[in-house]
Symmetry: C2
Subunit: 246 residues, 2 copies
């Protein structure tokens, strides 16, 4: 037993130099690969070892470029927010379209990367990409006649709505993906429980049956647009100083 398959601890048998043809590792590359991994396999599949392997590197090598896993996640979140393009209309009368476009863009980004939803409640987000978009939207709202502080409040309102609505959409979608079933199969499987539901919660039961045979994607889009429209109505009212409805 003088030879086994473990690497011989001798200078002569060194693996040679395999020159680093790739630019080795860079923070940008790591973050990009992390996003790809998260998109492909979801949030619980992201581990330093797996990410290292994907990059052809050891797990601990990543720590030369990133302090923590938490920091890595923070960077990944801001990376995908980089997909946002501010609409940048400063036409005062089109603040509504501009804001709606921001909201829809944000929703689209989160639905493209649903794992973001599980991060938002766990970290305060002050990445540069979100800040850039905030600054732009603040400008649009100010140009529309809102004071700066009110523009900020309005923006926070819209963003909070988008985050909340889209988070629960994303949570639902990932749970669906994890169960490996389609939306139809799910509501089919829930049918037996419907009778009990209708007895204890008649309104929820009625809603369930009413929405059963509608395209769920369109339904969610409509629901999202409804709330967004109501919010923009309310903001418009505040902008023009109109009377509060009852």
């Amino acid at each position: 037993m003088t030879t086994d398959d473990r690497p011989i601890p001798s200078v002569w048998a060194r693996p040679g130099r395999e020159k680093r043809e790739q630019p080795a590792l860079s923070r940008q590359q790591i973050v990009a690969e992390a996003v790809r991994l998260l998109d492909a396999e979801g949030v619980e599949a992201l581990s330093m070892r797996k990410l290292g392997t994907r990059l052809g590197a050891g797990a601990t090598s990543l720590y030369r470029h990133v302090a923590n896993k938490d920091e890595l996640v923070e960077l990944a979140v801001d990376e995908v927010f980089g997909e946002l393009r501010a609409p940048g209309m400063n036409d005062a009368e089109r603040w509504r379209e501009a804001t709606a476009a921001c909201a829809q863009g944000l929703r689209a980004v989160i639905l493209r990367h649903p794992w973001i939803a599980s991060m938002l409640g766990a970290m305060a987000n002050y990445g540069p990409n979100l800040m850039r978009m905030s600054e732009d939207l603040l400008g649009t709202l100010e140009a529309a006649g809102f004071s700066l502080t009110e523009a900020n409040s309005a923006m926070n309102t819209v963003f909070a709505y988008v985050m909340g609505m889209t988070s629960s959409e994303a949570a639902w979608l990932t749970m669906l993906a994890r169960s490996g079933q389609t939306e139809e199969e799910w509501s089919e499987r829930l049918k037996p429980a419907l009778e009990g539901l209708t007895r204890s919660h008649p309104r929820l039961g009625a809603l369930f049956t009413a929405q059963a045979d509608e395209d769920p994607v369109r339904l969610r889009e409509r629901e999202f647009a409804y709330g967004l429209d109501r919010i923009l109505d309310g903001l418009a009212l505040a902008r023009s100083g109109g009377p509060a409805p009852t």
Copy 2:
């Protein structure tokens, strides 16, 4: 070496019976203790072993009453939503107060248990307590003149706003707690970076300085109330079928 300190594998040296004076373990008890642990030490401190120890039990004993850690978390979330009491006013003209009370109550619950925020984006929530409150609020909105589907859309809008707004509040607060600093210390520490911020993002910089010397708790309450009021305005407009403002 016939004796060591490990338990002697002999029938005679059995540890005896120590009768179970406590009612042993129950699902309700486990969930309640999990909530206590989460409240006290935050989300990353919840482990099955630690929770078991707190209950005077082994880690794996919990699995007799709970399928997974995920299920346990789901139960814990619904447990705290049990603190919600629906306002239950069916006076048609007071739908606005009732809805606002729901929203404020939900916000208060989440701020009392900030760890919820990090769960909301990761699980579709259909616990009985939230369903009960949904059913009640749907009733209130229907009594106020909304159709059932529109009442549902309105409710989703308000809930999404509350979840989004409060999630980011909770995230900020837990990050603050983890860093062990007060809010004043934090903004003091950020002062040096302010100049650079103001140069690249003038509006955000101005907001930062404008809000620096205000009680942050009151500020967050005001911000929350602002958005909620705008949303309720928008819903009121839809209810009365009024003209959309510009």
